[in-house]
């Protein structure tokens, strides 16, 4: 299992609006297929930026990101959108769900974007929601769910198109420890099914299940 799915090369991101912020500098890292990794470090030190670059949601100032053998930095924006749709799933800290849609519809949306026919969308959405234990919440709006439930829906939605990689930005940041434990169980299950998972987190509980931890400080990767 030495197979690498993500590799970065001197990845650098500099924001230049008014004043210059070096968010990330010369990051070289590799992530093995099927692994569960954590990105840790103080707030404002570049963790989210790194996650966005890995997932093709943003473009680096310099350096490269490889998804398998594909150089994401040289791929056009519509191709990048297709990659996000089919191969990568995102979960953010909060406001993941579209508030006008029900839980079921939220999961369906990601499949709609992938061009899955309506009937299949519904069947698969119900199946995935069952996996995260929310099948009875299908027709509820997100604002009627608890924080932990919302994050489980977000995970279900991220998994809907059966991506290879799941990227999560502080998914348990807003949860009490019981909900965090519960969510972690689901994340663990997803990982067991062969998905590569990268989690930005401050939580020791999350870090405890990780096979690998990247420590980011001042935009640089510290050896850990």
């Amino acid at each position: 299992m030495n197979d690498l799915i993500i590799r970065t090369e001197k990845l650098t991101k500099i924001y230049e609006d008014g004043y210059r912020t070096v968010a990330l500098q010369d990051i070289d890292l590799t992530i093995a297929r099927g692994s569960l990794s954590c990105i840790m470090g103080p707030s404002g030190h570049g963790k989210s930026t790194l996650l966005h670059l890995i997932g093709g949601l943003d473009r680096p100032t310099s350096g490269r990101v490889y998804l398998e053998d594909m150089d994401l930095t040289s791929v056009g924006s519509s191709k990048l959108a297709v990659l996000r749709c089919r191969r990568i799933g995102f979960v953010f800290q909060f406001f993941n769900l579209l508030p006008v849609l029900t839980v079921l519809e939220n999961v369906e949306v990601s499949m709609m974007l992938a061009g899955v026919p309506q009937k299949e969308q519904r069947e698969r959405a119900i199946e995935i929601l069952r996996l995260v234990g929310l099948e009875e919440k299908c027709h509820v709006k997100p604002n009627q769910l608890s924080g932990g439930q919302r994050q489980r829906v977000a995970i279900a939605r991220a998994m809907a198109n059966n991506p290879d990689i799941l990227l999560m930005d502080e998914p348990t940041g807003n949860l009490d420890s019981k909900s965090e434990q519960e969510l972690l169980t689901h994340i663990h299950k997803v990982n067991q099914n062969g998905k590569t998972i990268v989690i930005v987190t401050h939580s020791q509980m999350v870090a405890a299940v990780a096979q690998r931890i990247f420590l980011i400080r001042d935009g640089r990767l510290e050896n850990s």
Partner: protein, 385 residues
């Protein structure tokens, strides 16, 4: 889940804003529909009416303005008139046929009906009238009516009519002509002059010329000899169309302003919505929505405003034309315009055009906001709030 379902869920989330935006475009489209309905067969209708006049020139009292001259076509009764001495002077000119007549009104079952005093044989020849029922007899005690009046008031030959307090017998009914001639009672000129106490006055003199190329010469000669004004059928048409045109221009301006305001309403609504939903746009982008997808989702939203606003506007416009029609037709002038279905209340062509226009205008308004949405960087959208 489909795109259209997503669009509808998004568009209806702010109910009052949704309704105001819809209302804006609906008002614009309603005024457009009213304009187009009114505009439709109007011009050709005016020309048709003037052809039925059957005269190249009409002699009117001196000093009449264009609006007063139009009463020749509309049948409106104005107090000024032409004395017999002028009628004789005009009739004396070589190369023309002069047909004097007097336009008055009476009431049948409380509804106003024109009474036209004519020289019976001359007028019948001039108008090429034919008799439908009874006989063509006009004298001190007999009148004939046009086909339309007979049908409207269910009159039969031999019926007794009271006109201005005097008893008359209906001697005959004319064949249908399909014009205003159907809508009057005809009486001997001298009888009418006596009944309405106008002395030897007539309202107009219709003039047919023998040599159409000399029409301007005749017109001058009439005005030199008699103390009257002369208007040609072409001038009459021009005057009517000028008035119709000014009404249409006003409506056009109203429609243009209303639609322009609606466009800004849509732009404003969409820009606000995009600002509020920035984070959601970011989520969609993270889920794999590309620029084209975001662009089309928002363009559909504004097009949907055009669709709903168009439907409501068309229904509103049709209802408005229908409700307003009786008020408009109270005026003699517009009654004349409305007389032959020139105001079409429901016209599929107009409805189709208005719908298309509504969709087009709404979509155009949506282009800028949708473009803005599609240019949002995913990270910026995600990090928002």
């Amino acid at each position: 889940m489909t795109r259209s379902k997503l669009v509808i869920k998004n568009i209806t989330r702010k109910k009052s804003r949704f309704l105001f935006t819809i209302f804006g475009i609906a008002v614009g489209i309603a005024s457009l529909v009213t304009l187009l309905s009114l505009g439709a067969g109007l011009e050709s209708e005016v020309r048709r009416q003037s052809e039925q006049l059957g005269a190249e020139l009409v002699v009117t009292p001196k000093g009449w303005c264009a609006y007063e001259q139009i009463s020749v076509l509309t049948g409106e009764t104005l107090p000024e008139a032409i004395p017999n001495e002028d009628v004789e002077k005009v009739a004396g000119i070589k190369g023309i046929t002069a047909i004097p007549y007097l336009v008055q009104r009476t009431a049948l079952r409380n509804q106003p009906v024109p009474v036209v005093g004519i020289l019976s044989t001359q007028m019948m020849k001039f108008k090429k009238w034919e008799i439908d029922k009874g006989e063509y007899l006009l004298d001190g005690g007999s009148v004939v009516t046009g086909f339309g009046i007979a049908r409207q008031f269910e009159l039969n030959v031999g019926d007794a009519l009271t006109i201005r307090g005097a008893p008359f017998r209906l001697s005959g009914i004319l064949k249908e002509k399909g014009n205003r001639d159907d809508l009057a009672i005809y009486m001997d000129l001298a009888t009418a002059q006596r009944l309405y106490q106008v002395g030897d006055m007539v309202s107009f003199i219709a003039v047919k010329v023998d040599d159409i190329t000399r029409i301007d010469g005749y017109s001058l000669e009439i005005q030199e000899r008699a103390n009257v004004a002369v208007v040609s059928d072409k001038q009459l048409v021009r005057s009517v169309l000028a008035i119709v045109g000014s009404v249409r221009n006003t409506l056009q301006l109203v429609a243009a302003v209303a639609i322009l305001a609606a466009c800004f309403g849509i732009i404003n609504t969409m820009v606000t919505a995009i600002h509020e939903r920035k984070r959601e746009i970011g989520i969609l982008q993270a889920l794999g929505a590309g620029r084209e997808t975001i662009f089309s989702l928002f363009l559909y939203e504004s097009a949907f405003y055009g669709f709903l606003g168009g439907v409501i506007g068309i229904v509103g416009g049709v209802i408005f034309s229908y409700v307003a029609a009786p008020y408009i037709t109270q005026n003699e002038f517009t009654a004349f315009l409305g007389s032959a279905q020139s105001v079409e209340v429901f016209n599929p062509d107009v409805v189709g055009k208005a719908m298309l226009f509504s969709l087009l205008v709404a979509s155009l308004s949506g282009i800028y906001p949708a473009f803005q949405a599609s240019r949002l960087s995913p990270v910026e959208a995600i990090s928002y709030e």
